[in-house]
Structure formats: structure tokens, C-alpha cells
Symmetry: C2
Subunit: 368 residues, 2 copies
């Protein structure tokens, strides 16, 4: 009956809450619960809706309030988490408070390698623009060294590595730098738009002039070797012509569930009790649990987002467009379109559990 579920996993999810819609913990909690994870949700903000609506009401948790909630868990012995997933934190002090929670959980798990794993999504910005205060960047730079897996998007990877990603070569260099500088075992760079990278000869599909690449999104991942070398893989998925809020949170939540599943399914039964779940050096990139997990994650996301586009189009067709050039009309039309593009999860949980498409991890050339 529970064949669709991942192994039992207790997750502490630290991210934002919105009353309406699905981003942050409102997205991540449901996604992980749908796959059978028991989720403790520590909310870093409490907003009416996501910020893509351009207006919202609500409150941000202070670092003190975040610490306080965690102390409540500690005093009741409610800290037996297998995984922590941390996302948006509303200030540098909050980033540090979240980092301190993860390190406390790591201390509690000392002596039991692999029993606790921290997935950190360093939410700072996108498309070349920071949407947090400047002081959040150094806070993340001093925090991510403690994480087992980080999930930056292309811009965040640039900020953290100090390397501008303009080619496959610089992309690989950014990942190597993240491994080396911060000692991070696993890295996934979400949503790299290959077509925007400068021409590169490594793979046929990397040419910006090829029409087929215009519509590809690529996810790049790597698990370090024992000597600190990256093991790089890529998964290409058709890009959908729409912007959705919360997809980063969906990716992170699915990755938590699918990575633990892949680690538990690993033929080398000792992996789950290996620090940071780092596969032996003889495991090639495409056989990494991180690669296996990413394949499933992207398949589920593709299914859910296709269903979301269908539902969005139906909703937009059933409500009247607000036409006009006045500011109020443009705003109302923006709200209508933003609401229609909310990710459709609850009726599509089957695609989280059993995705119906396949995207395969491919190895990269090792020499750049």
C-alpha cells in the first residue's frame, strides 16, 4: 500500500509560510508529506501570499523567534530529524540562526555518520538580482560550509563561488569552487539556461544557435570524490514557457525525499551510514544517488508544471481579462495571471509519487 512512498524520513523544514498558494514551506511540506515524510515545519515568515503578487501582508520571524521555536523542540526532545531542509530566511541574523540549528542537529548526530543530512537552499536572488539584503550574502558564505547539499540557482552559484557562469567551462569551475572553498559534498545548480551560455564545444546541444537548445533547462549536479574532485552530471528537461513561483521549493523538497530514497536503495548498504552520503570513488557521476534523485525530481516537476499550465489556461479562459492601460487595470490583470499560475499540487499528487516521464542524467566531459 505504501509502495509509492520513500523510506520513513523525519524532516525539519525551515522556510516561509504563505496563507494562500504554494511556495516555501507551504510547498515543501505538502510535497514531502505526499511522499511519506514526517515534516516539522518551522516558518521563517508568515505572509498572506507569495511576493510575485507584488503586494502581501504578514510578518517575518526574527532570529530570536526562530531560535525560540527550536528551543521548544529541544526541551521536548523533538529533534530526532533525519534531514533538515532550509530555504528562505528573512535576514542575515535569521540565516545565522538557521545555520546554528543545523549545526546543533549535527552535534546531536555526532557518532552516527549519515544519520543527519542538511539540504540548504541559499535563497538570495535570481536572474542577476539579489532580493535579500546585502548582508545575507556573507551570512550564507559562512554558513554553507556546514551543509551536505546546497541547491543554488545559477545566480546564487555565481554569488557564492565568485565565478560568473558564461560557459560550460565556468559552470564546472563554479561547482569545483563550491566543493573546494566550502567543503560541500553535494551541489546541484538548478535552472541553468544553456542557451544563454556562450558557445561551447563540449556537447552538441550546447550551441546557442541550435533551436533545440532554446527550450532546454539543464540541471547540473555533482558529488565530490574522496580527493575533492567533482563528479559532474547533467539532466536536460524541456523548458516550459511560463514562470511559476515555488518551483525552487518543490525541487528542494522532492530532492530531500528522492535522495534519501536513492541512498537507501544504494547497492552499497553502507552508504546511509557514511558521513554526508558520499559514494565511493568508483561510482560514476550518472550512478550517483544524487543523479538518480535528480532524474525523478525533474520528472515529477515536469508533470506537475504541465498540469499547472493546463489549469492556468483553463482558469484564464474562464475569467475575464482586465483590459486597459490604467495602472489599476494592469495591476488587476497581473493579479489574475499570478493567481492562475499558482502551482497545482493537491489534485496531482500522483505525479509526485509516480512521475510518468523520464529524463536521464548524462555524464559531462571531464576535461574543459
Amino acid at each position: 500500500m505504501s509502495a509509492d512512498l520513500v523510506p520513513e524520513t523525519r524532516v525539519l523544514a525551515v522556510a516561509s509560510h504563505v496563507v494562500y498558494g504554494h511556495v516555501g514551506n507551504k510547498m515543501a511540506t505538502l510535497v514531502m508529506q505526499s511522499l511519506g515524510c514526517d515534516v516539522a515545519a518551522l516558518n521563517t515568515v508568515d505572509f498572506s501570499n507569495h511576493t510575485g503578487y507584488r503586494q502581501f501582508k504578514g510578518t517575518r520571524a526574527t532570529a530570536e523567534e526562530i531560535r525560540n521555536l527550536y528551543e521548544g523542540l529541544c526541551q521536548n526532545n523533538l529533534t530526532d530529524f533525519d534531514v533538515m531542509l532550509s530555504g528562505y530566511a528573512p535576514s542575515a541574523a535569521a540565516v545565522e540562526a538557521v545555520g546554528a540549528i543545523a549545526q546543533d542537529l549535527q552535534r546531536k548526530a555526532a557518532g552516527r555518520p549519515g544519520s543527519f543530512f542538511w539540504v540548504l537552499d541559499p535563497v538570495m536572488g535570481d536572474q542577476g538580482r539579489l532580493y535579500v539584503n546585502d548582508d545575507v550574502v556573507p551570512a550564507y558564505k559562512s554558513t554553507i560550509q556546514h551543509a551536505d547539499l546546497i541547491l543554488p540557482n545559477q545566480f546564487e552559484a555565481e554569488v557564492l563561488s565568485g565565478i560568473q557562469i558564461t560557459s560550460f567551462h565556468s559552470l564546472a569551475k563554479a561547482i569545483s569552487t563550491l566543493h573546494a572553498t566550502y567543503n560541500i559534498p553535494h551541489v546541484i545548480i538548478t535552472s541553468v539556461q544553456l542557451s544563454k551560455l556562450s558557445s561551447s564545444a563540449e556537447t552538441p546541444s550546447a550551441s546557442p544557435s541550435s533551436p533545440s537548445t532554446q527550450n532546454l533547462l539543464t540541471v547540473i549536479g555533482s558529488t565530490t570524490t574522496s580527493t575533492g574532485q567533482p563528479r559532474l552530471f547533467r539532466v536536460d528537461v524541456p523548458a516550459l514557457d511560463c514562470f511559476f513561483s515555488g518551483t525552487g521549493d518543490m525541487f528542494a523538497a522532492l530532492t530531500v525525499a528522492r535522495l534519501r530514497e536513492a541512498v537507501f536503495a544504494d547497492p552499497d548498504g553502507s552508504l546511509r551510514s557514511t558521513k554526508s552520503w558520499i559514494s565511493n570513488d568508483d561510482v560514476p557521476p550518472t550512478a550517483l544517488p544524487l543523479a538518480k534523485a535528480t532524474e525523478k525530481v525533474l520528472a515529477s516537476m515536469h508533470n506537475i508544471l504541465e498540469k499547472t499550465i493546463e489549469a492556468r489556461d483553463a482558469e484564464l479562459a474562464s475569467t475575464a481579462a482586465v483590459v486597459g492601460e490604467e495602472e489599476d487595470m494592469r495591476k488587476r490583470e497581473h493579479l489574475r495571471r499570478t493567481k492562475a499560475a499558482e502551482v497545482r499540487l493537491v489534485r496531482n499528487v500522483r505525479f509526485l509519487r509516480q512521475p510518468t516521464v523520464e529524463f536521464k542524467a548524462q555524464e559531462w566531459e571531464r576535461d574543459f
Copy 2:
């Protein structure tokens, strides 16, 4: 593919949030989502854990913060809710703020009878004891008149009706009073312990001396007729020998989903566009959508709580009891037992969707 889901339902759920475990909105959201409802969760408190642990950390939302979050929804046109479910509110002012939200949604739905339905769980206390401030009681008394369905437990029904429930006769009188005094269309009194009521001849199982009744919990419901008469039904379920936190929230959330399902399945297709979903007078008590819903709700709950007891026993067996008479030891043992009794939801969602037992609604004698 979605045969297990109830009709699409957009719910505004207003209740407490806890980081760890399943009570309040943390319970209700997952339950309703699992049945396919799209849930907006407005959290009235943000605690580390439920109060049964006897210690917790966190914050309570002020009435102003609750209003503010709702204003955020309003300004973004995110108020197209089919149902509102309201539970624990941390102050009299918060109860009034929640009531004002429901009335605003009712105003927005004016002219479309049956398009919005308010389920109110008047959380005030249990077992003869208030656990809210005294001023919350009059706040609820002036609020519940606007609700479509209220879900008091036995104690709360006594407080609201002013009638002490000591027999079947007084129980029926309390329900009639709730219908009449507050003009409430639907009432369910959850968790009546028949064996504690004084002897009554209406049903054979009502005798307090009968061993079979010692282990029964009875849920009593009624939908008013057009002339304000109650239509009383009861559903008996075997009482489980354990106390669980969050069962009231699970009951309320399941009732939202199953009642809307039953109303949509009603052979009289006009019921869903009838104000407050009040069935025609020729519908007998046991054929009421409220009765049909209650049967499914209790079946799911029974399955989930049986699984919870199994998991609790396994957890208690796998961890060492804290033995000793010192206060610290007693406290640690209480924490161990409270944690073990957290309701097990995520791995048992199938019982929400497809309960495997049946409990049948029975009609009461109409004359007391």
C-alpha cells in the same frame, strides 16, 4: 486517477500551527489536502509543539495580525473560498476577528446561496474545564450564530447551550437549543461518552451498566428542518483506550471534505445551491449529507487512530522508559509518551481516502 478525492474545494483554514506534530492547522491542512482540497492556512498561533507536552515555545497572533493576513488575501483577490474551517483562536478579540472574516466571505458570496459554507469548531475546553480565557465564551456566543455548522465537544455544547448534558434527553435538548437560540443549521457534538450519561431507555446500548457501552464513543449530529426542528442521528464507534491530541482537528477537517462530497452527491442536485446546504424536510436524519459525512469521517479516524496506537506501542517498546519518582524523570517519561502518541498521518493517508471500516448512522427516537 483522482477517484479517491472529494470534489474540488477551496478551503480557508484558520487555526493553530505547530512546528512538530499534528494538531490544529498542521493536522487539518494535511487531512484536507490528502482528500484533494486546496487549503489556504491562516495560522492563529505558531508554537513549537502542542500544549499536551505541557511546555512549548512560540507566539500567538493578535487579532490585528489575523485581520492583516486576511486583508492581504483581499487585496490580491484571493478570497474565492468554498468553505472556511475555523478552529482555535487565542483570544476573544481573535475569535471576533475570525468571525469578521467569515462574515466578509459570506457577504462576498451573497446572491450565490450554498457557494460558501462556514464550519466553526468553538475550541474552548474539554472534560469540564475551559482552557481559554473566560471572555472567549461570550465571543463565541455572539459569533456562532453566523456559522453553518458547529462542532462542539460535549463540554463546549454545554457551555454554548447552557444545558448540562447528563442524559439523552438533555443532549437532545442542548442540540435543539443550539439550533434555536443561535439559528445554526447543522450541529455535531463530537465525543459524547454515553456510558457517563445517566441511564436512559431510548436505546438498549444506552444503559451505563452494560459492558458493551463502556467502550463506545458516540457522535451526535443534527440538521435542522425548515421549521427549526432537529433531525437527530448518532454514530457509535468503539472508543480507543488512549488520548490523542489533534483528533478534534482531524474530525473537523474530514467533515469539511466529506460533507461537501455528500452535498455534491445528493440526489437532489439543488442542495449545493441551497443556503447552508439544508436538506428538504422529507430527508430523514440518517440520509442527511451530514450523517453520510460523519460515517466516513469516523471510519477514517478509527483507522488512523488504530495505526497510531500500533506505532505508539512500537515506539515505546523501542525506547527505554524513564523510571523514577523525581520530577525530572516523570517529566521526561511524560514527554516520551506524548511524542509516541502523535497521530500518524503521512504514512496512513490511504485511510483518509479509503477507510476500511463502516460505522452506520442511526436515527434517534424522536420523543424524549
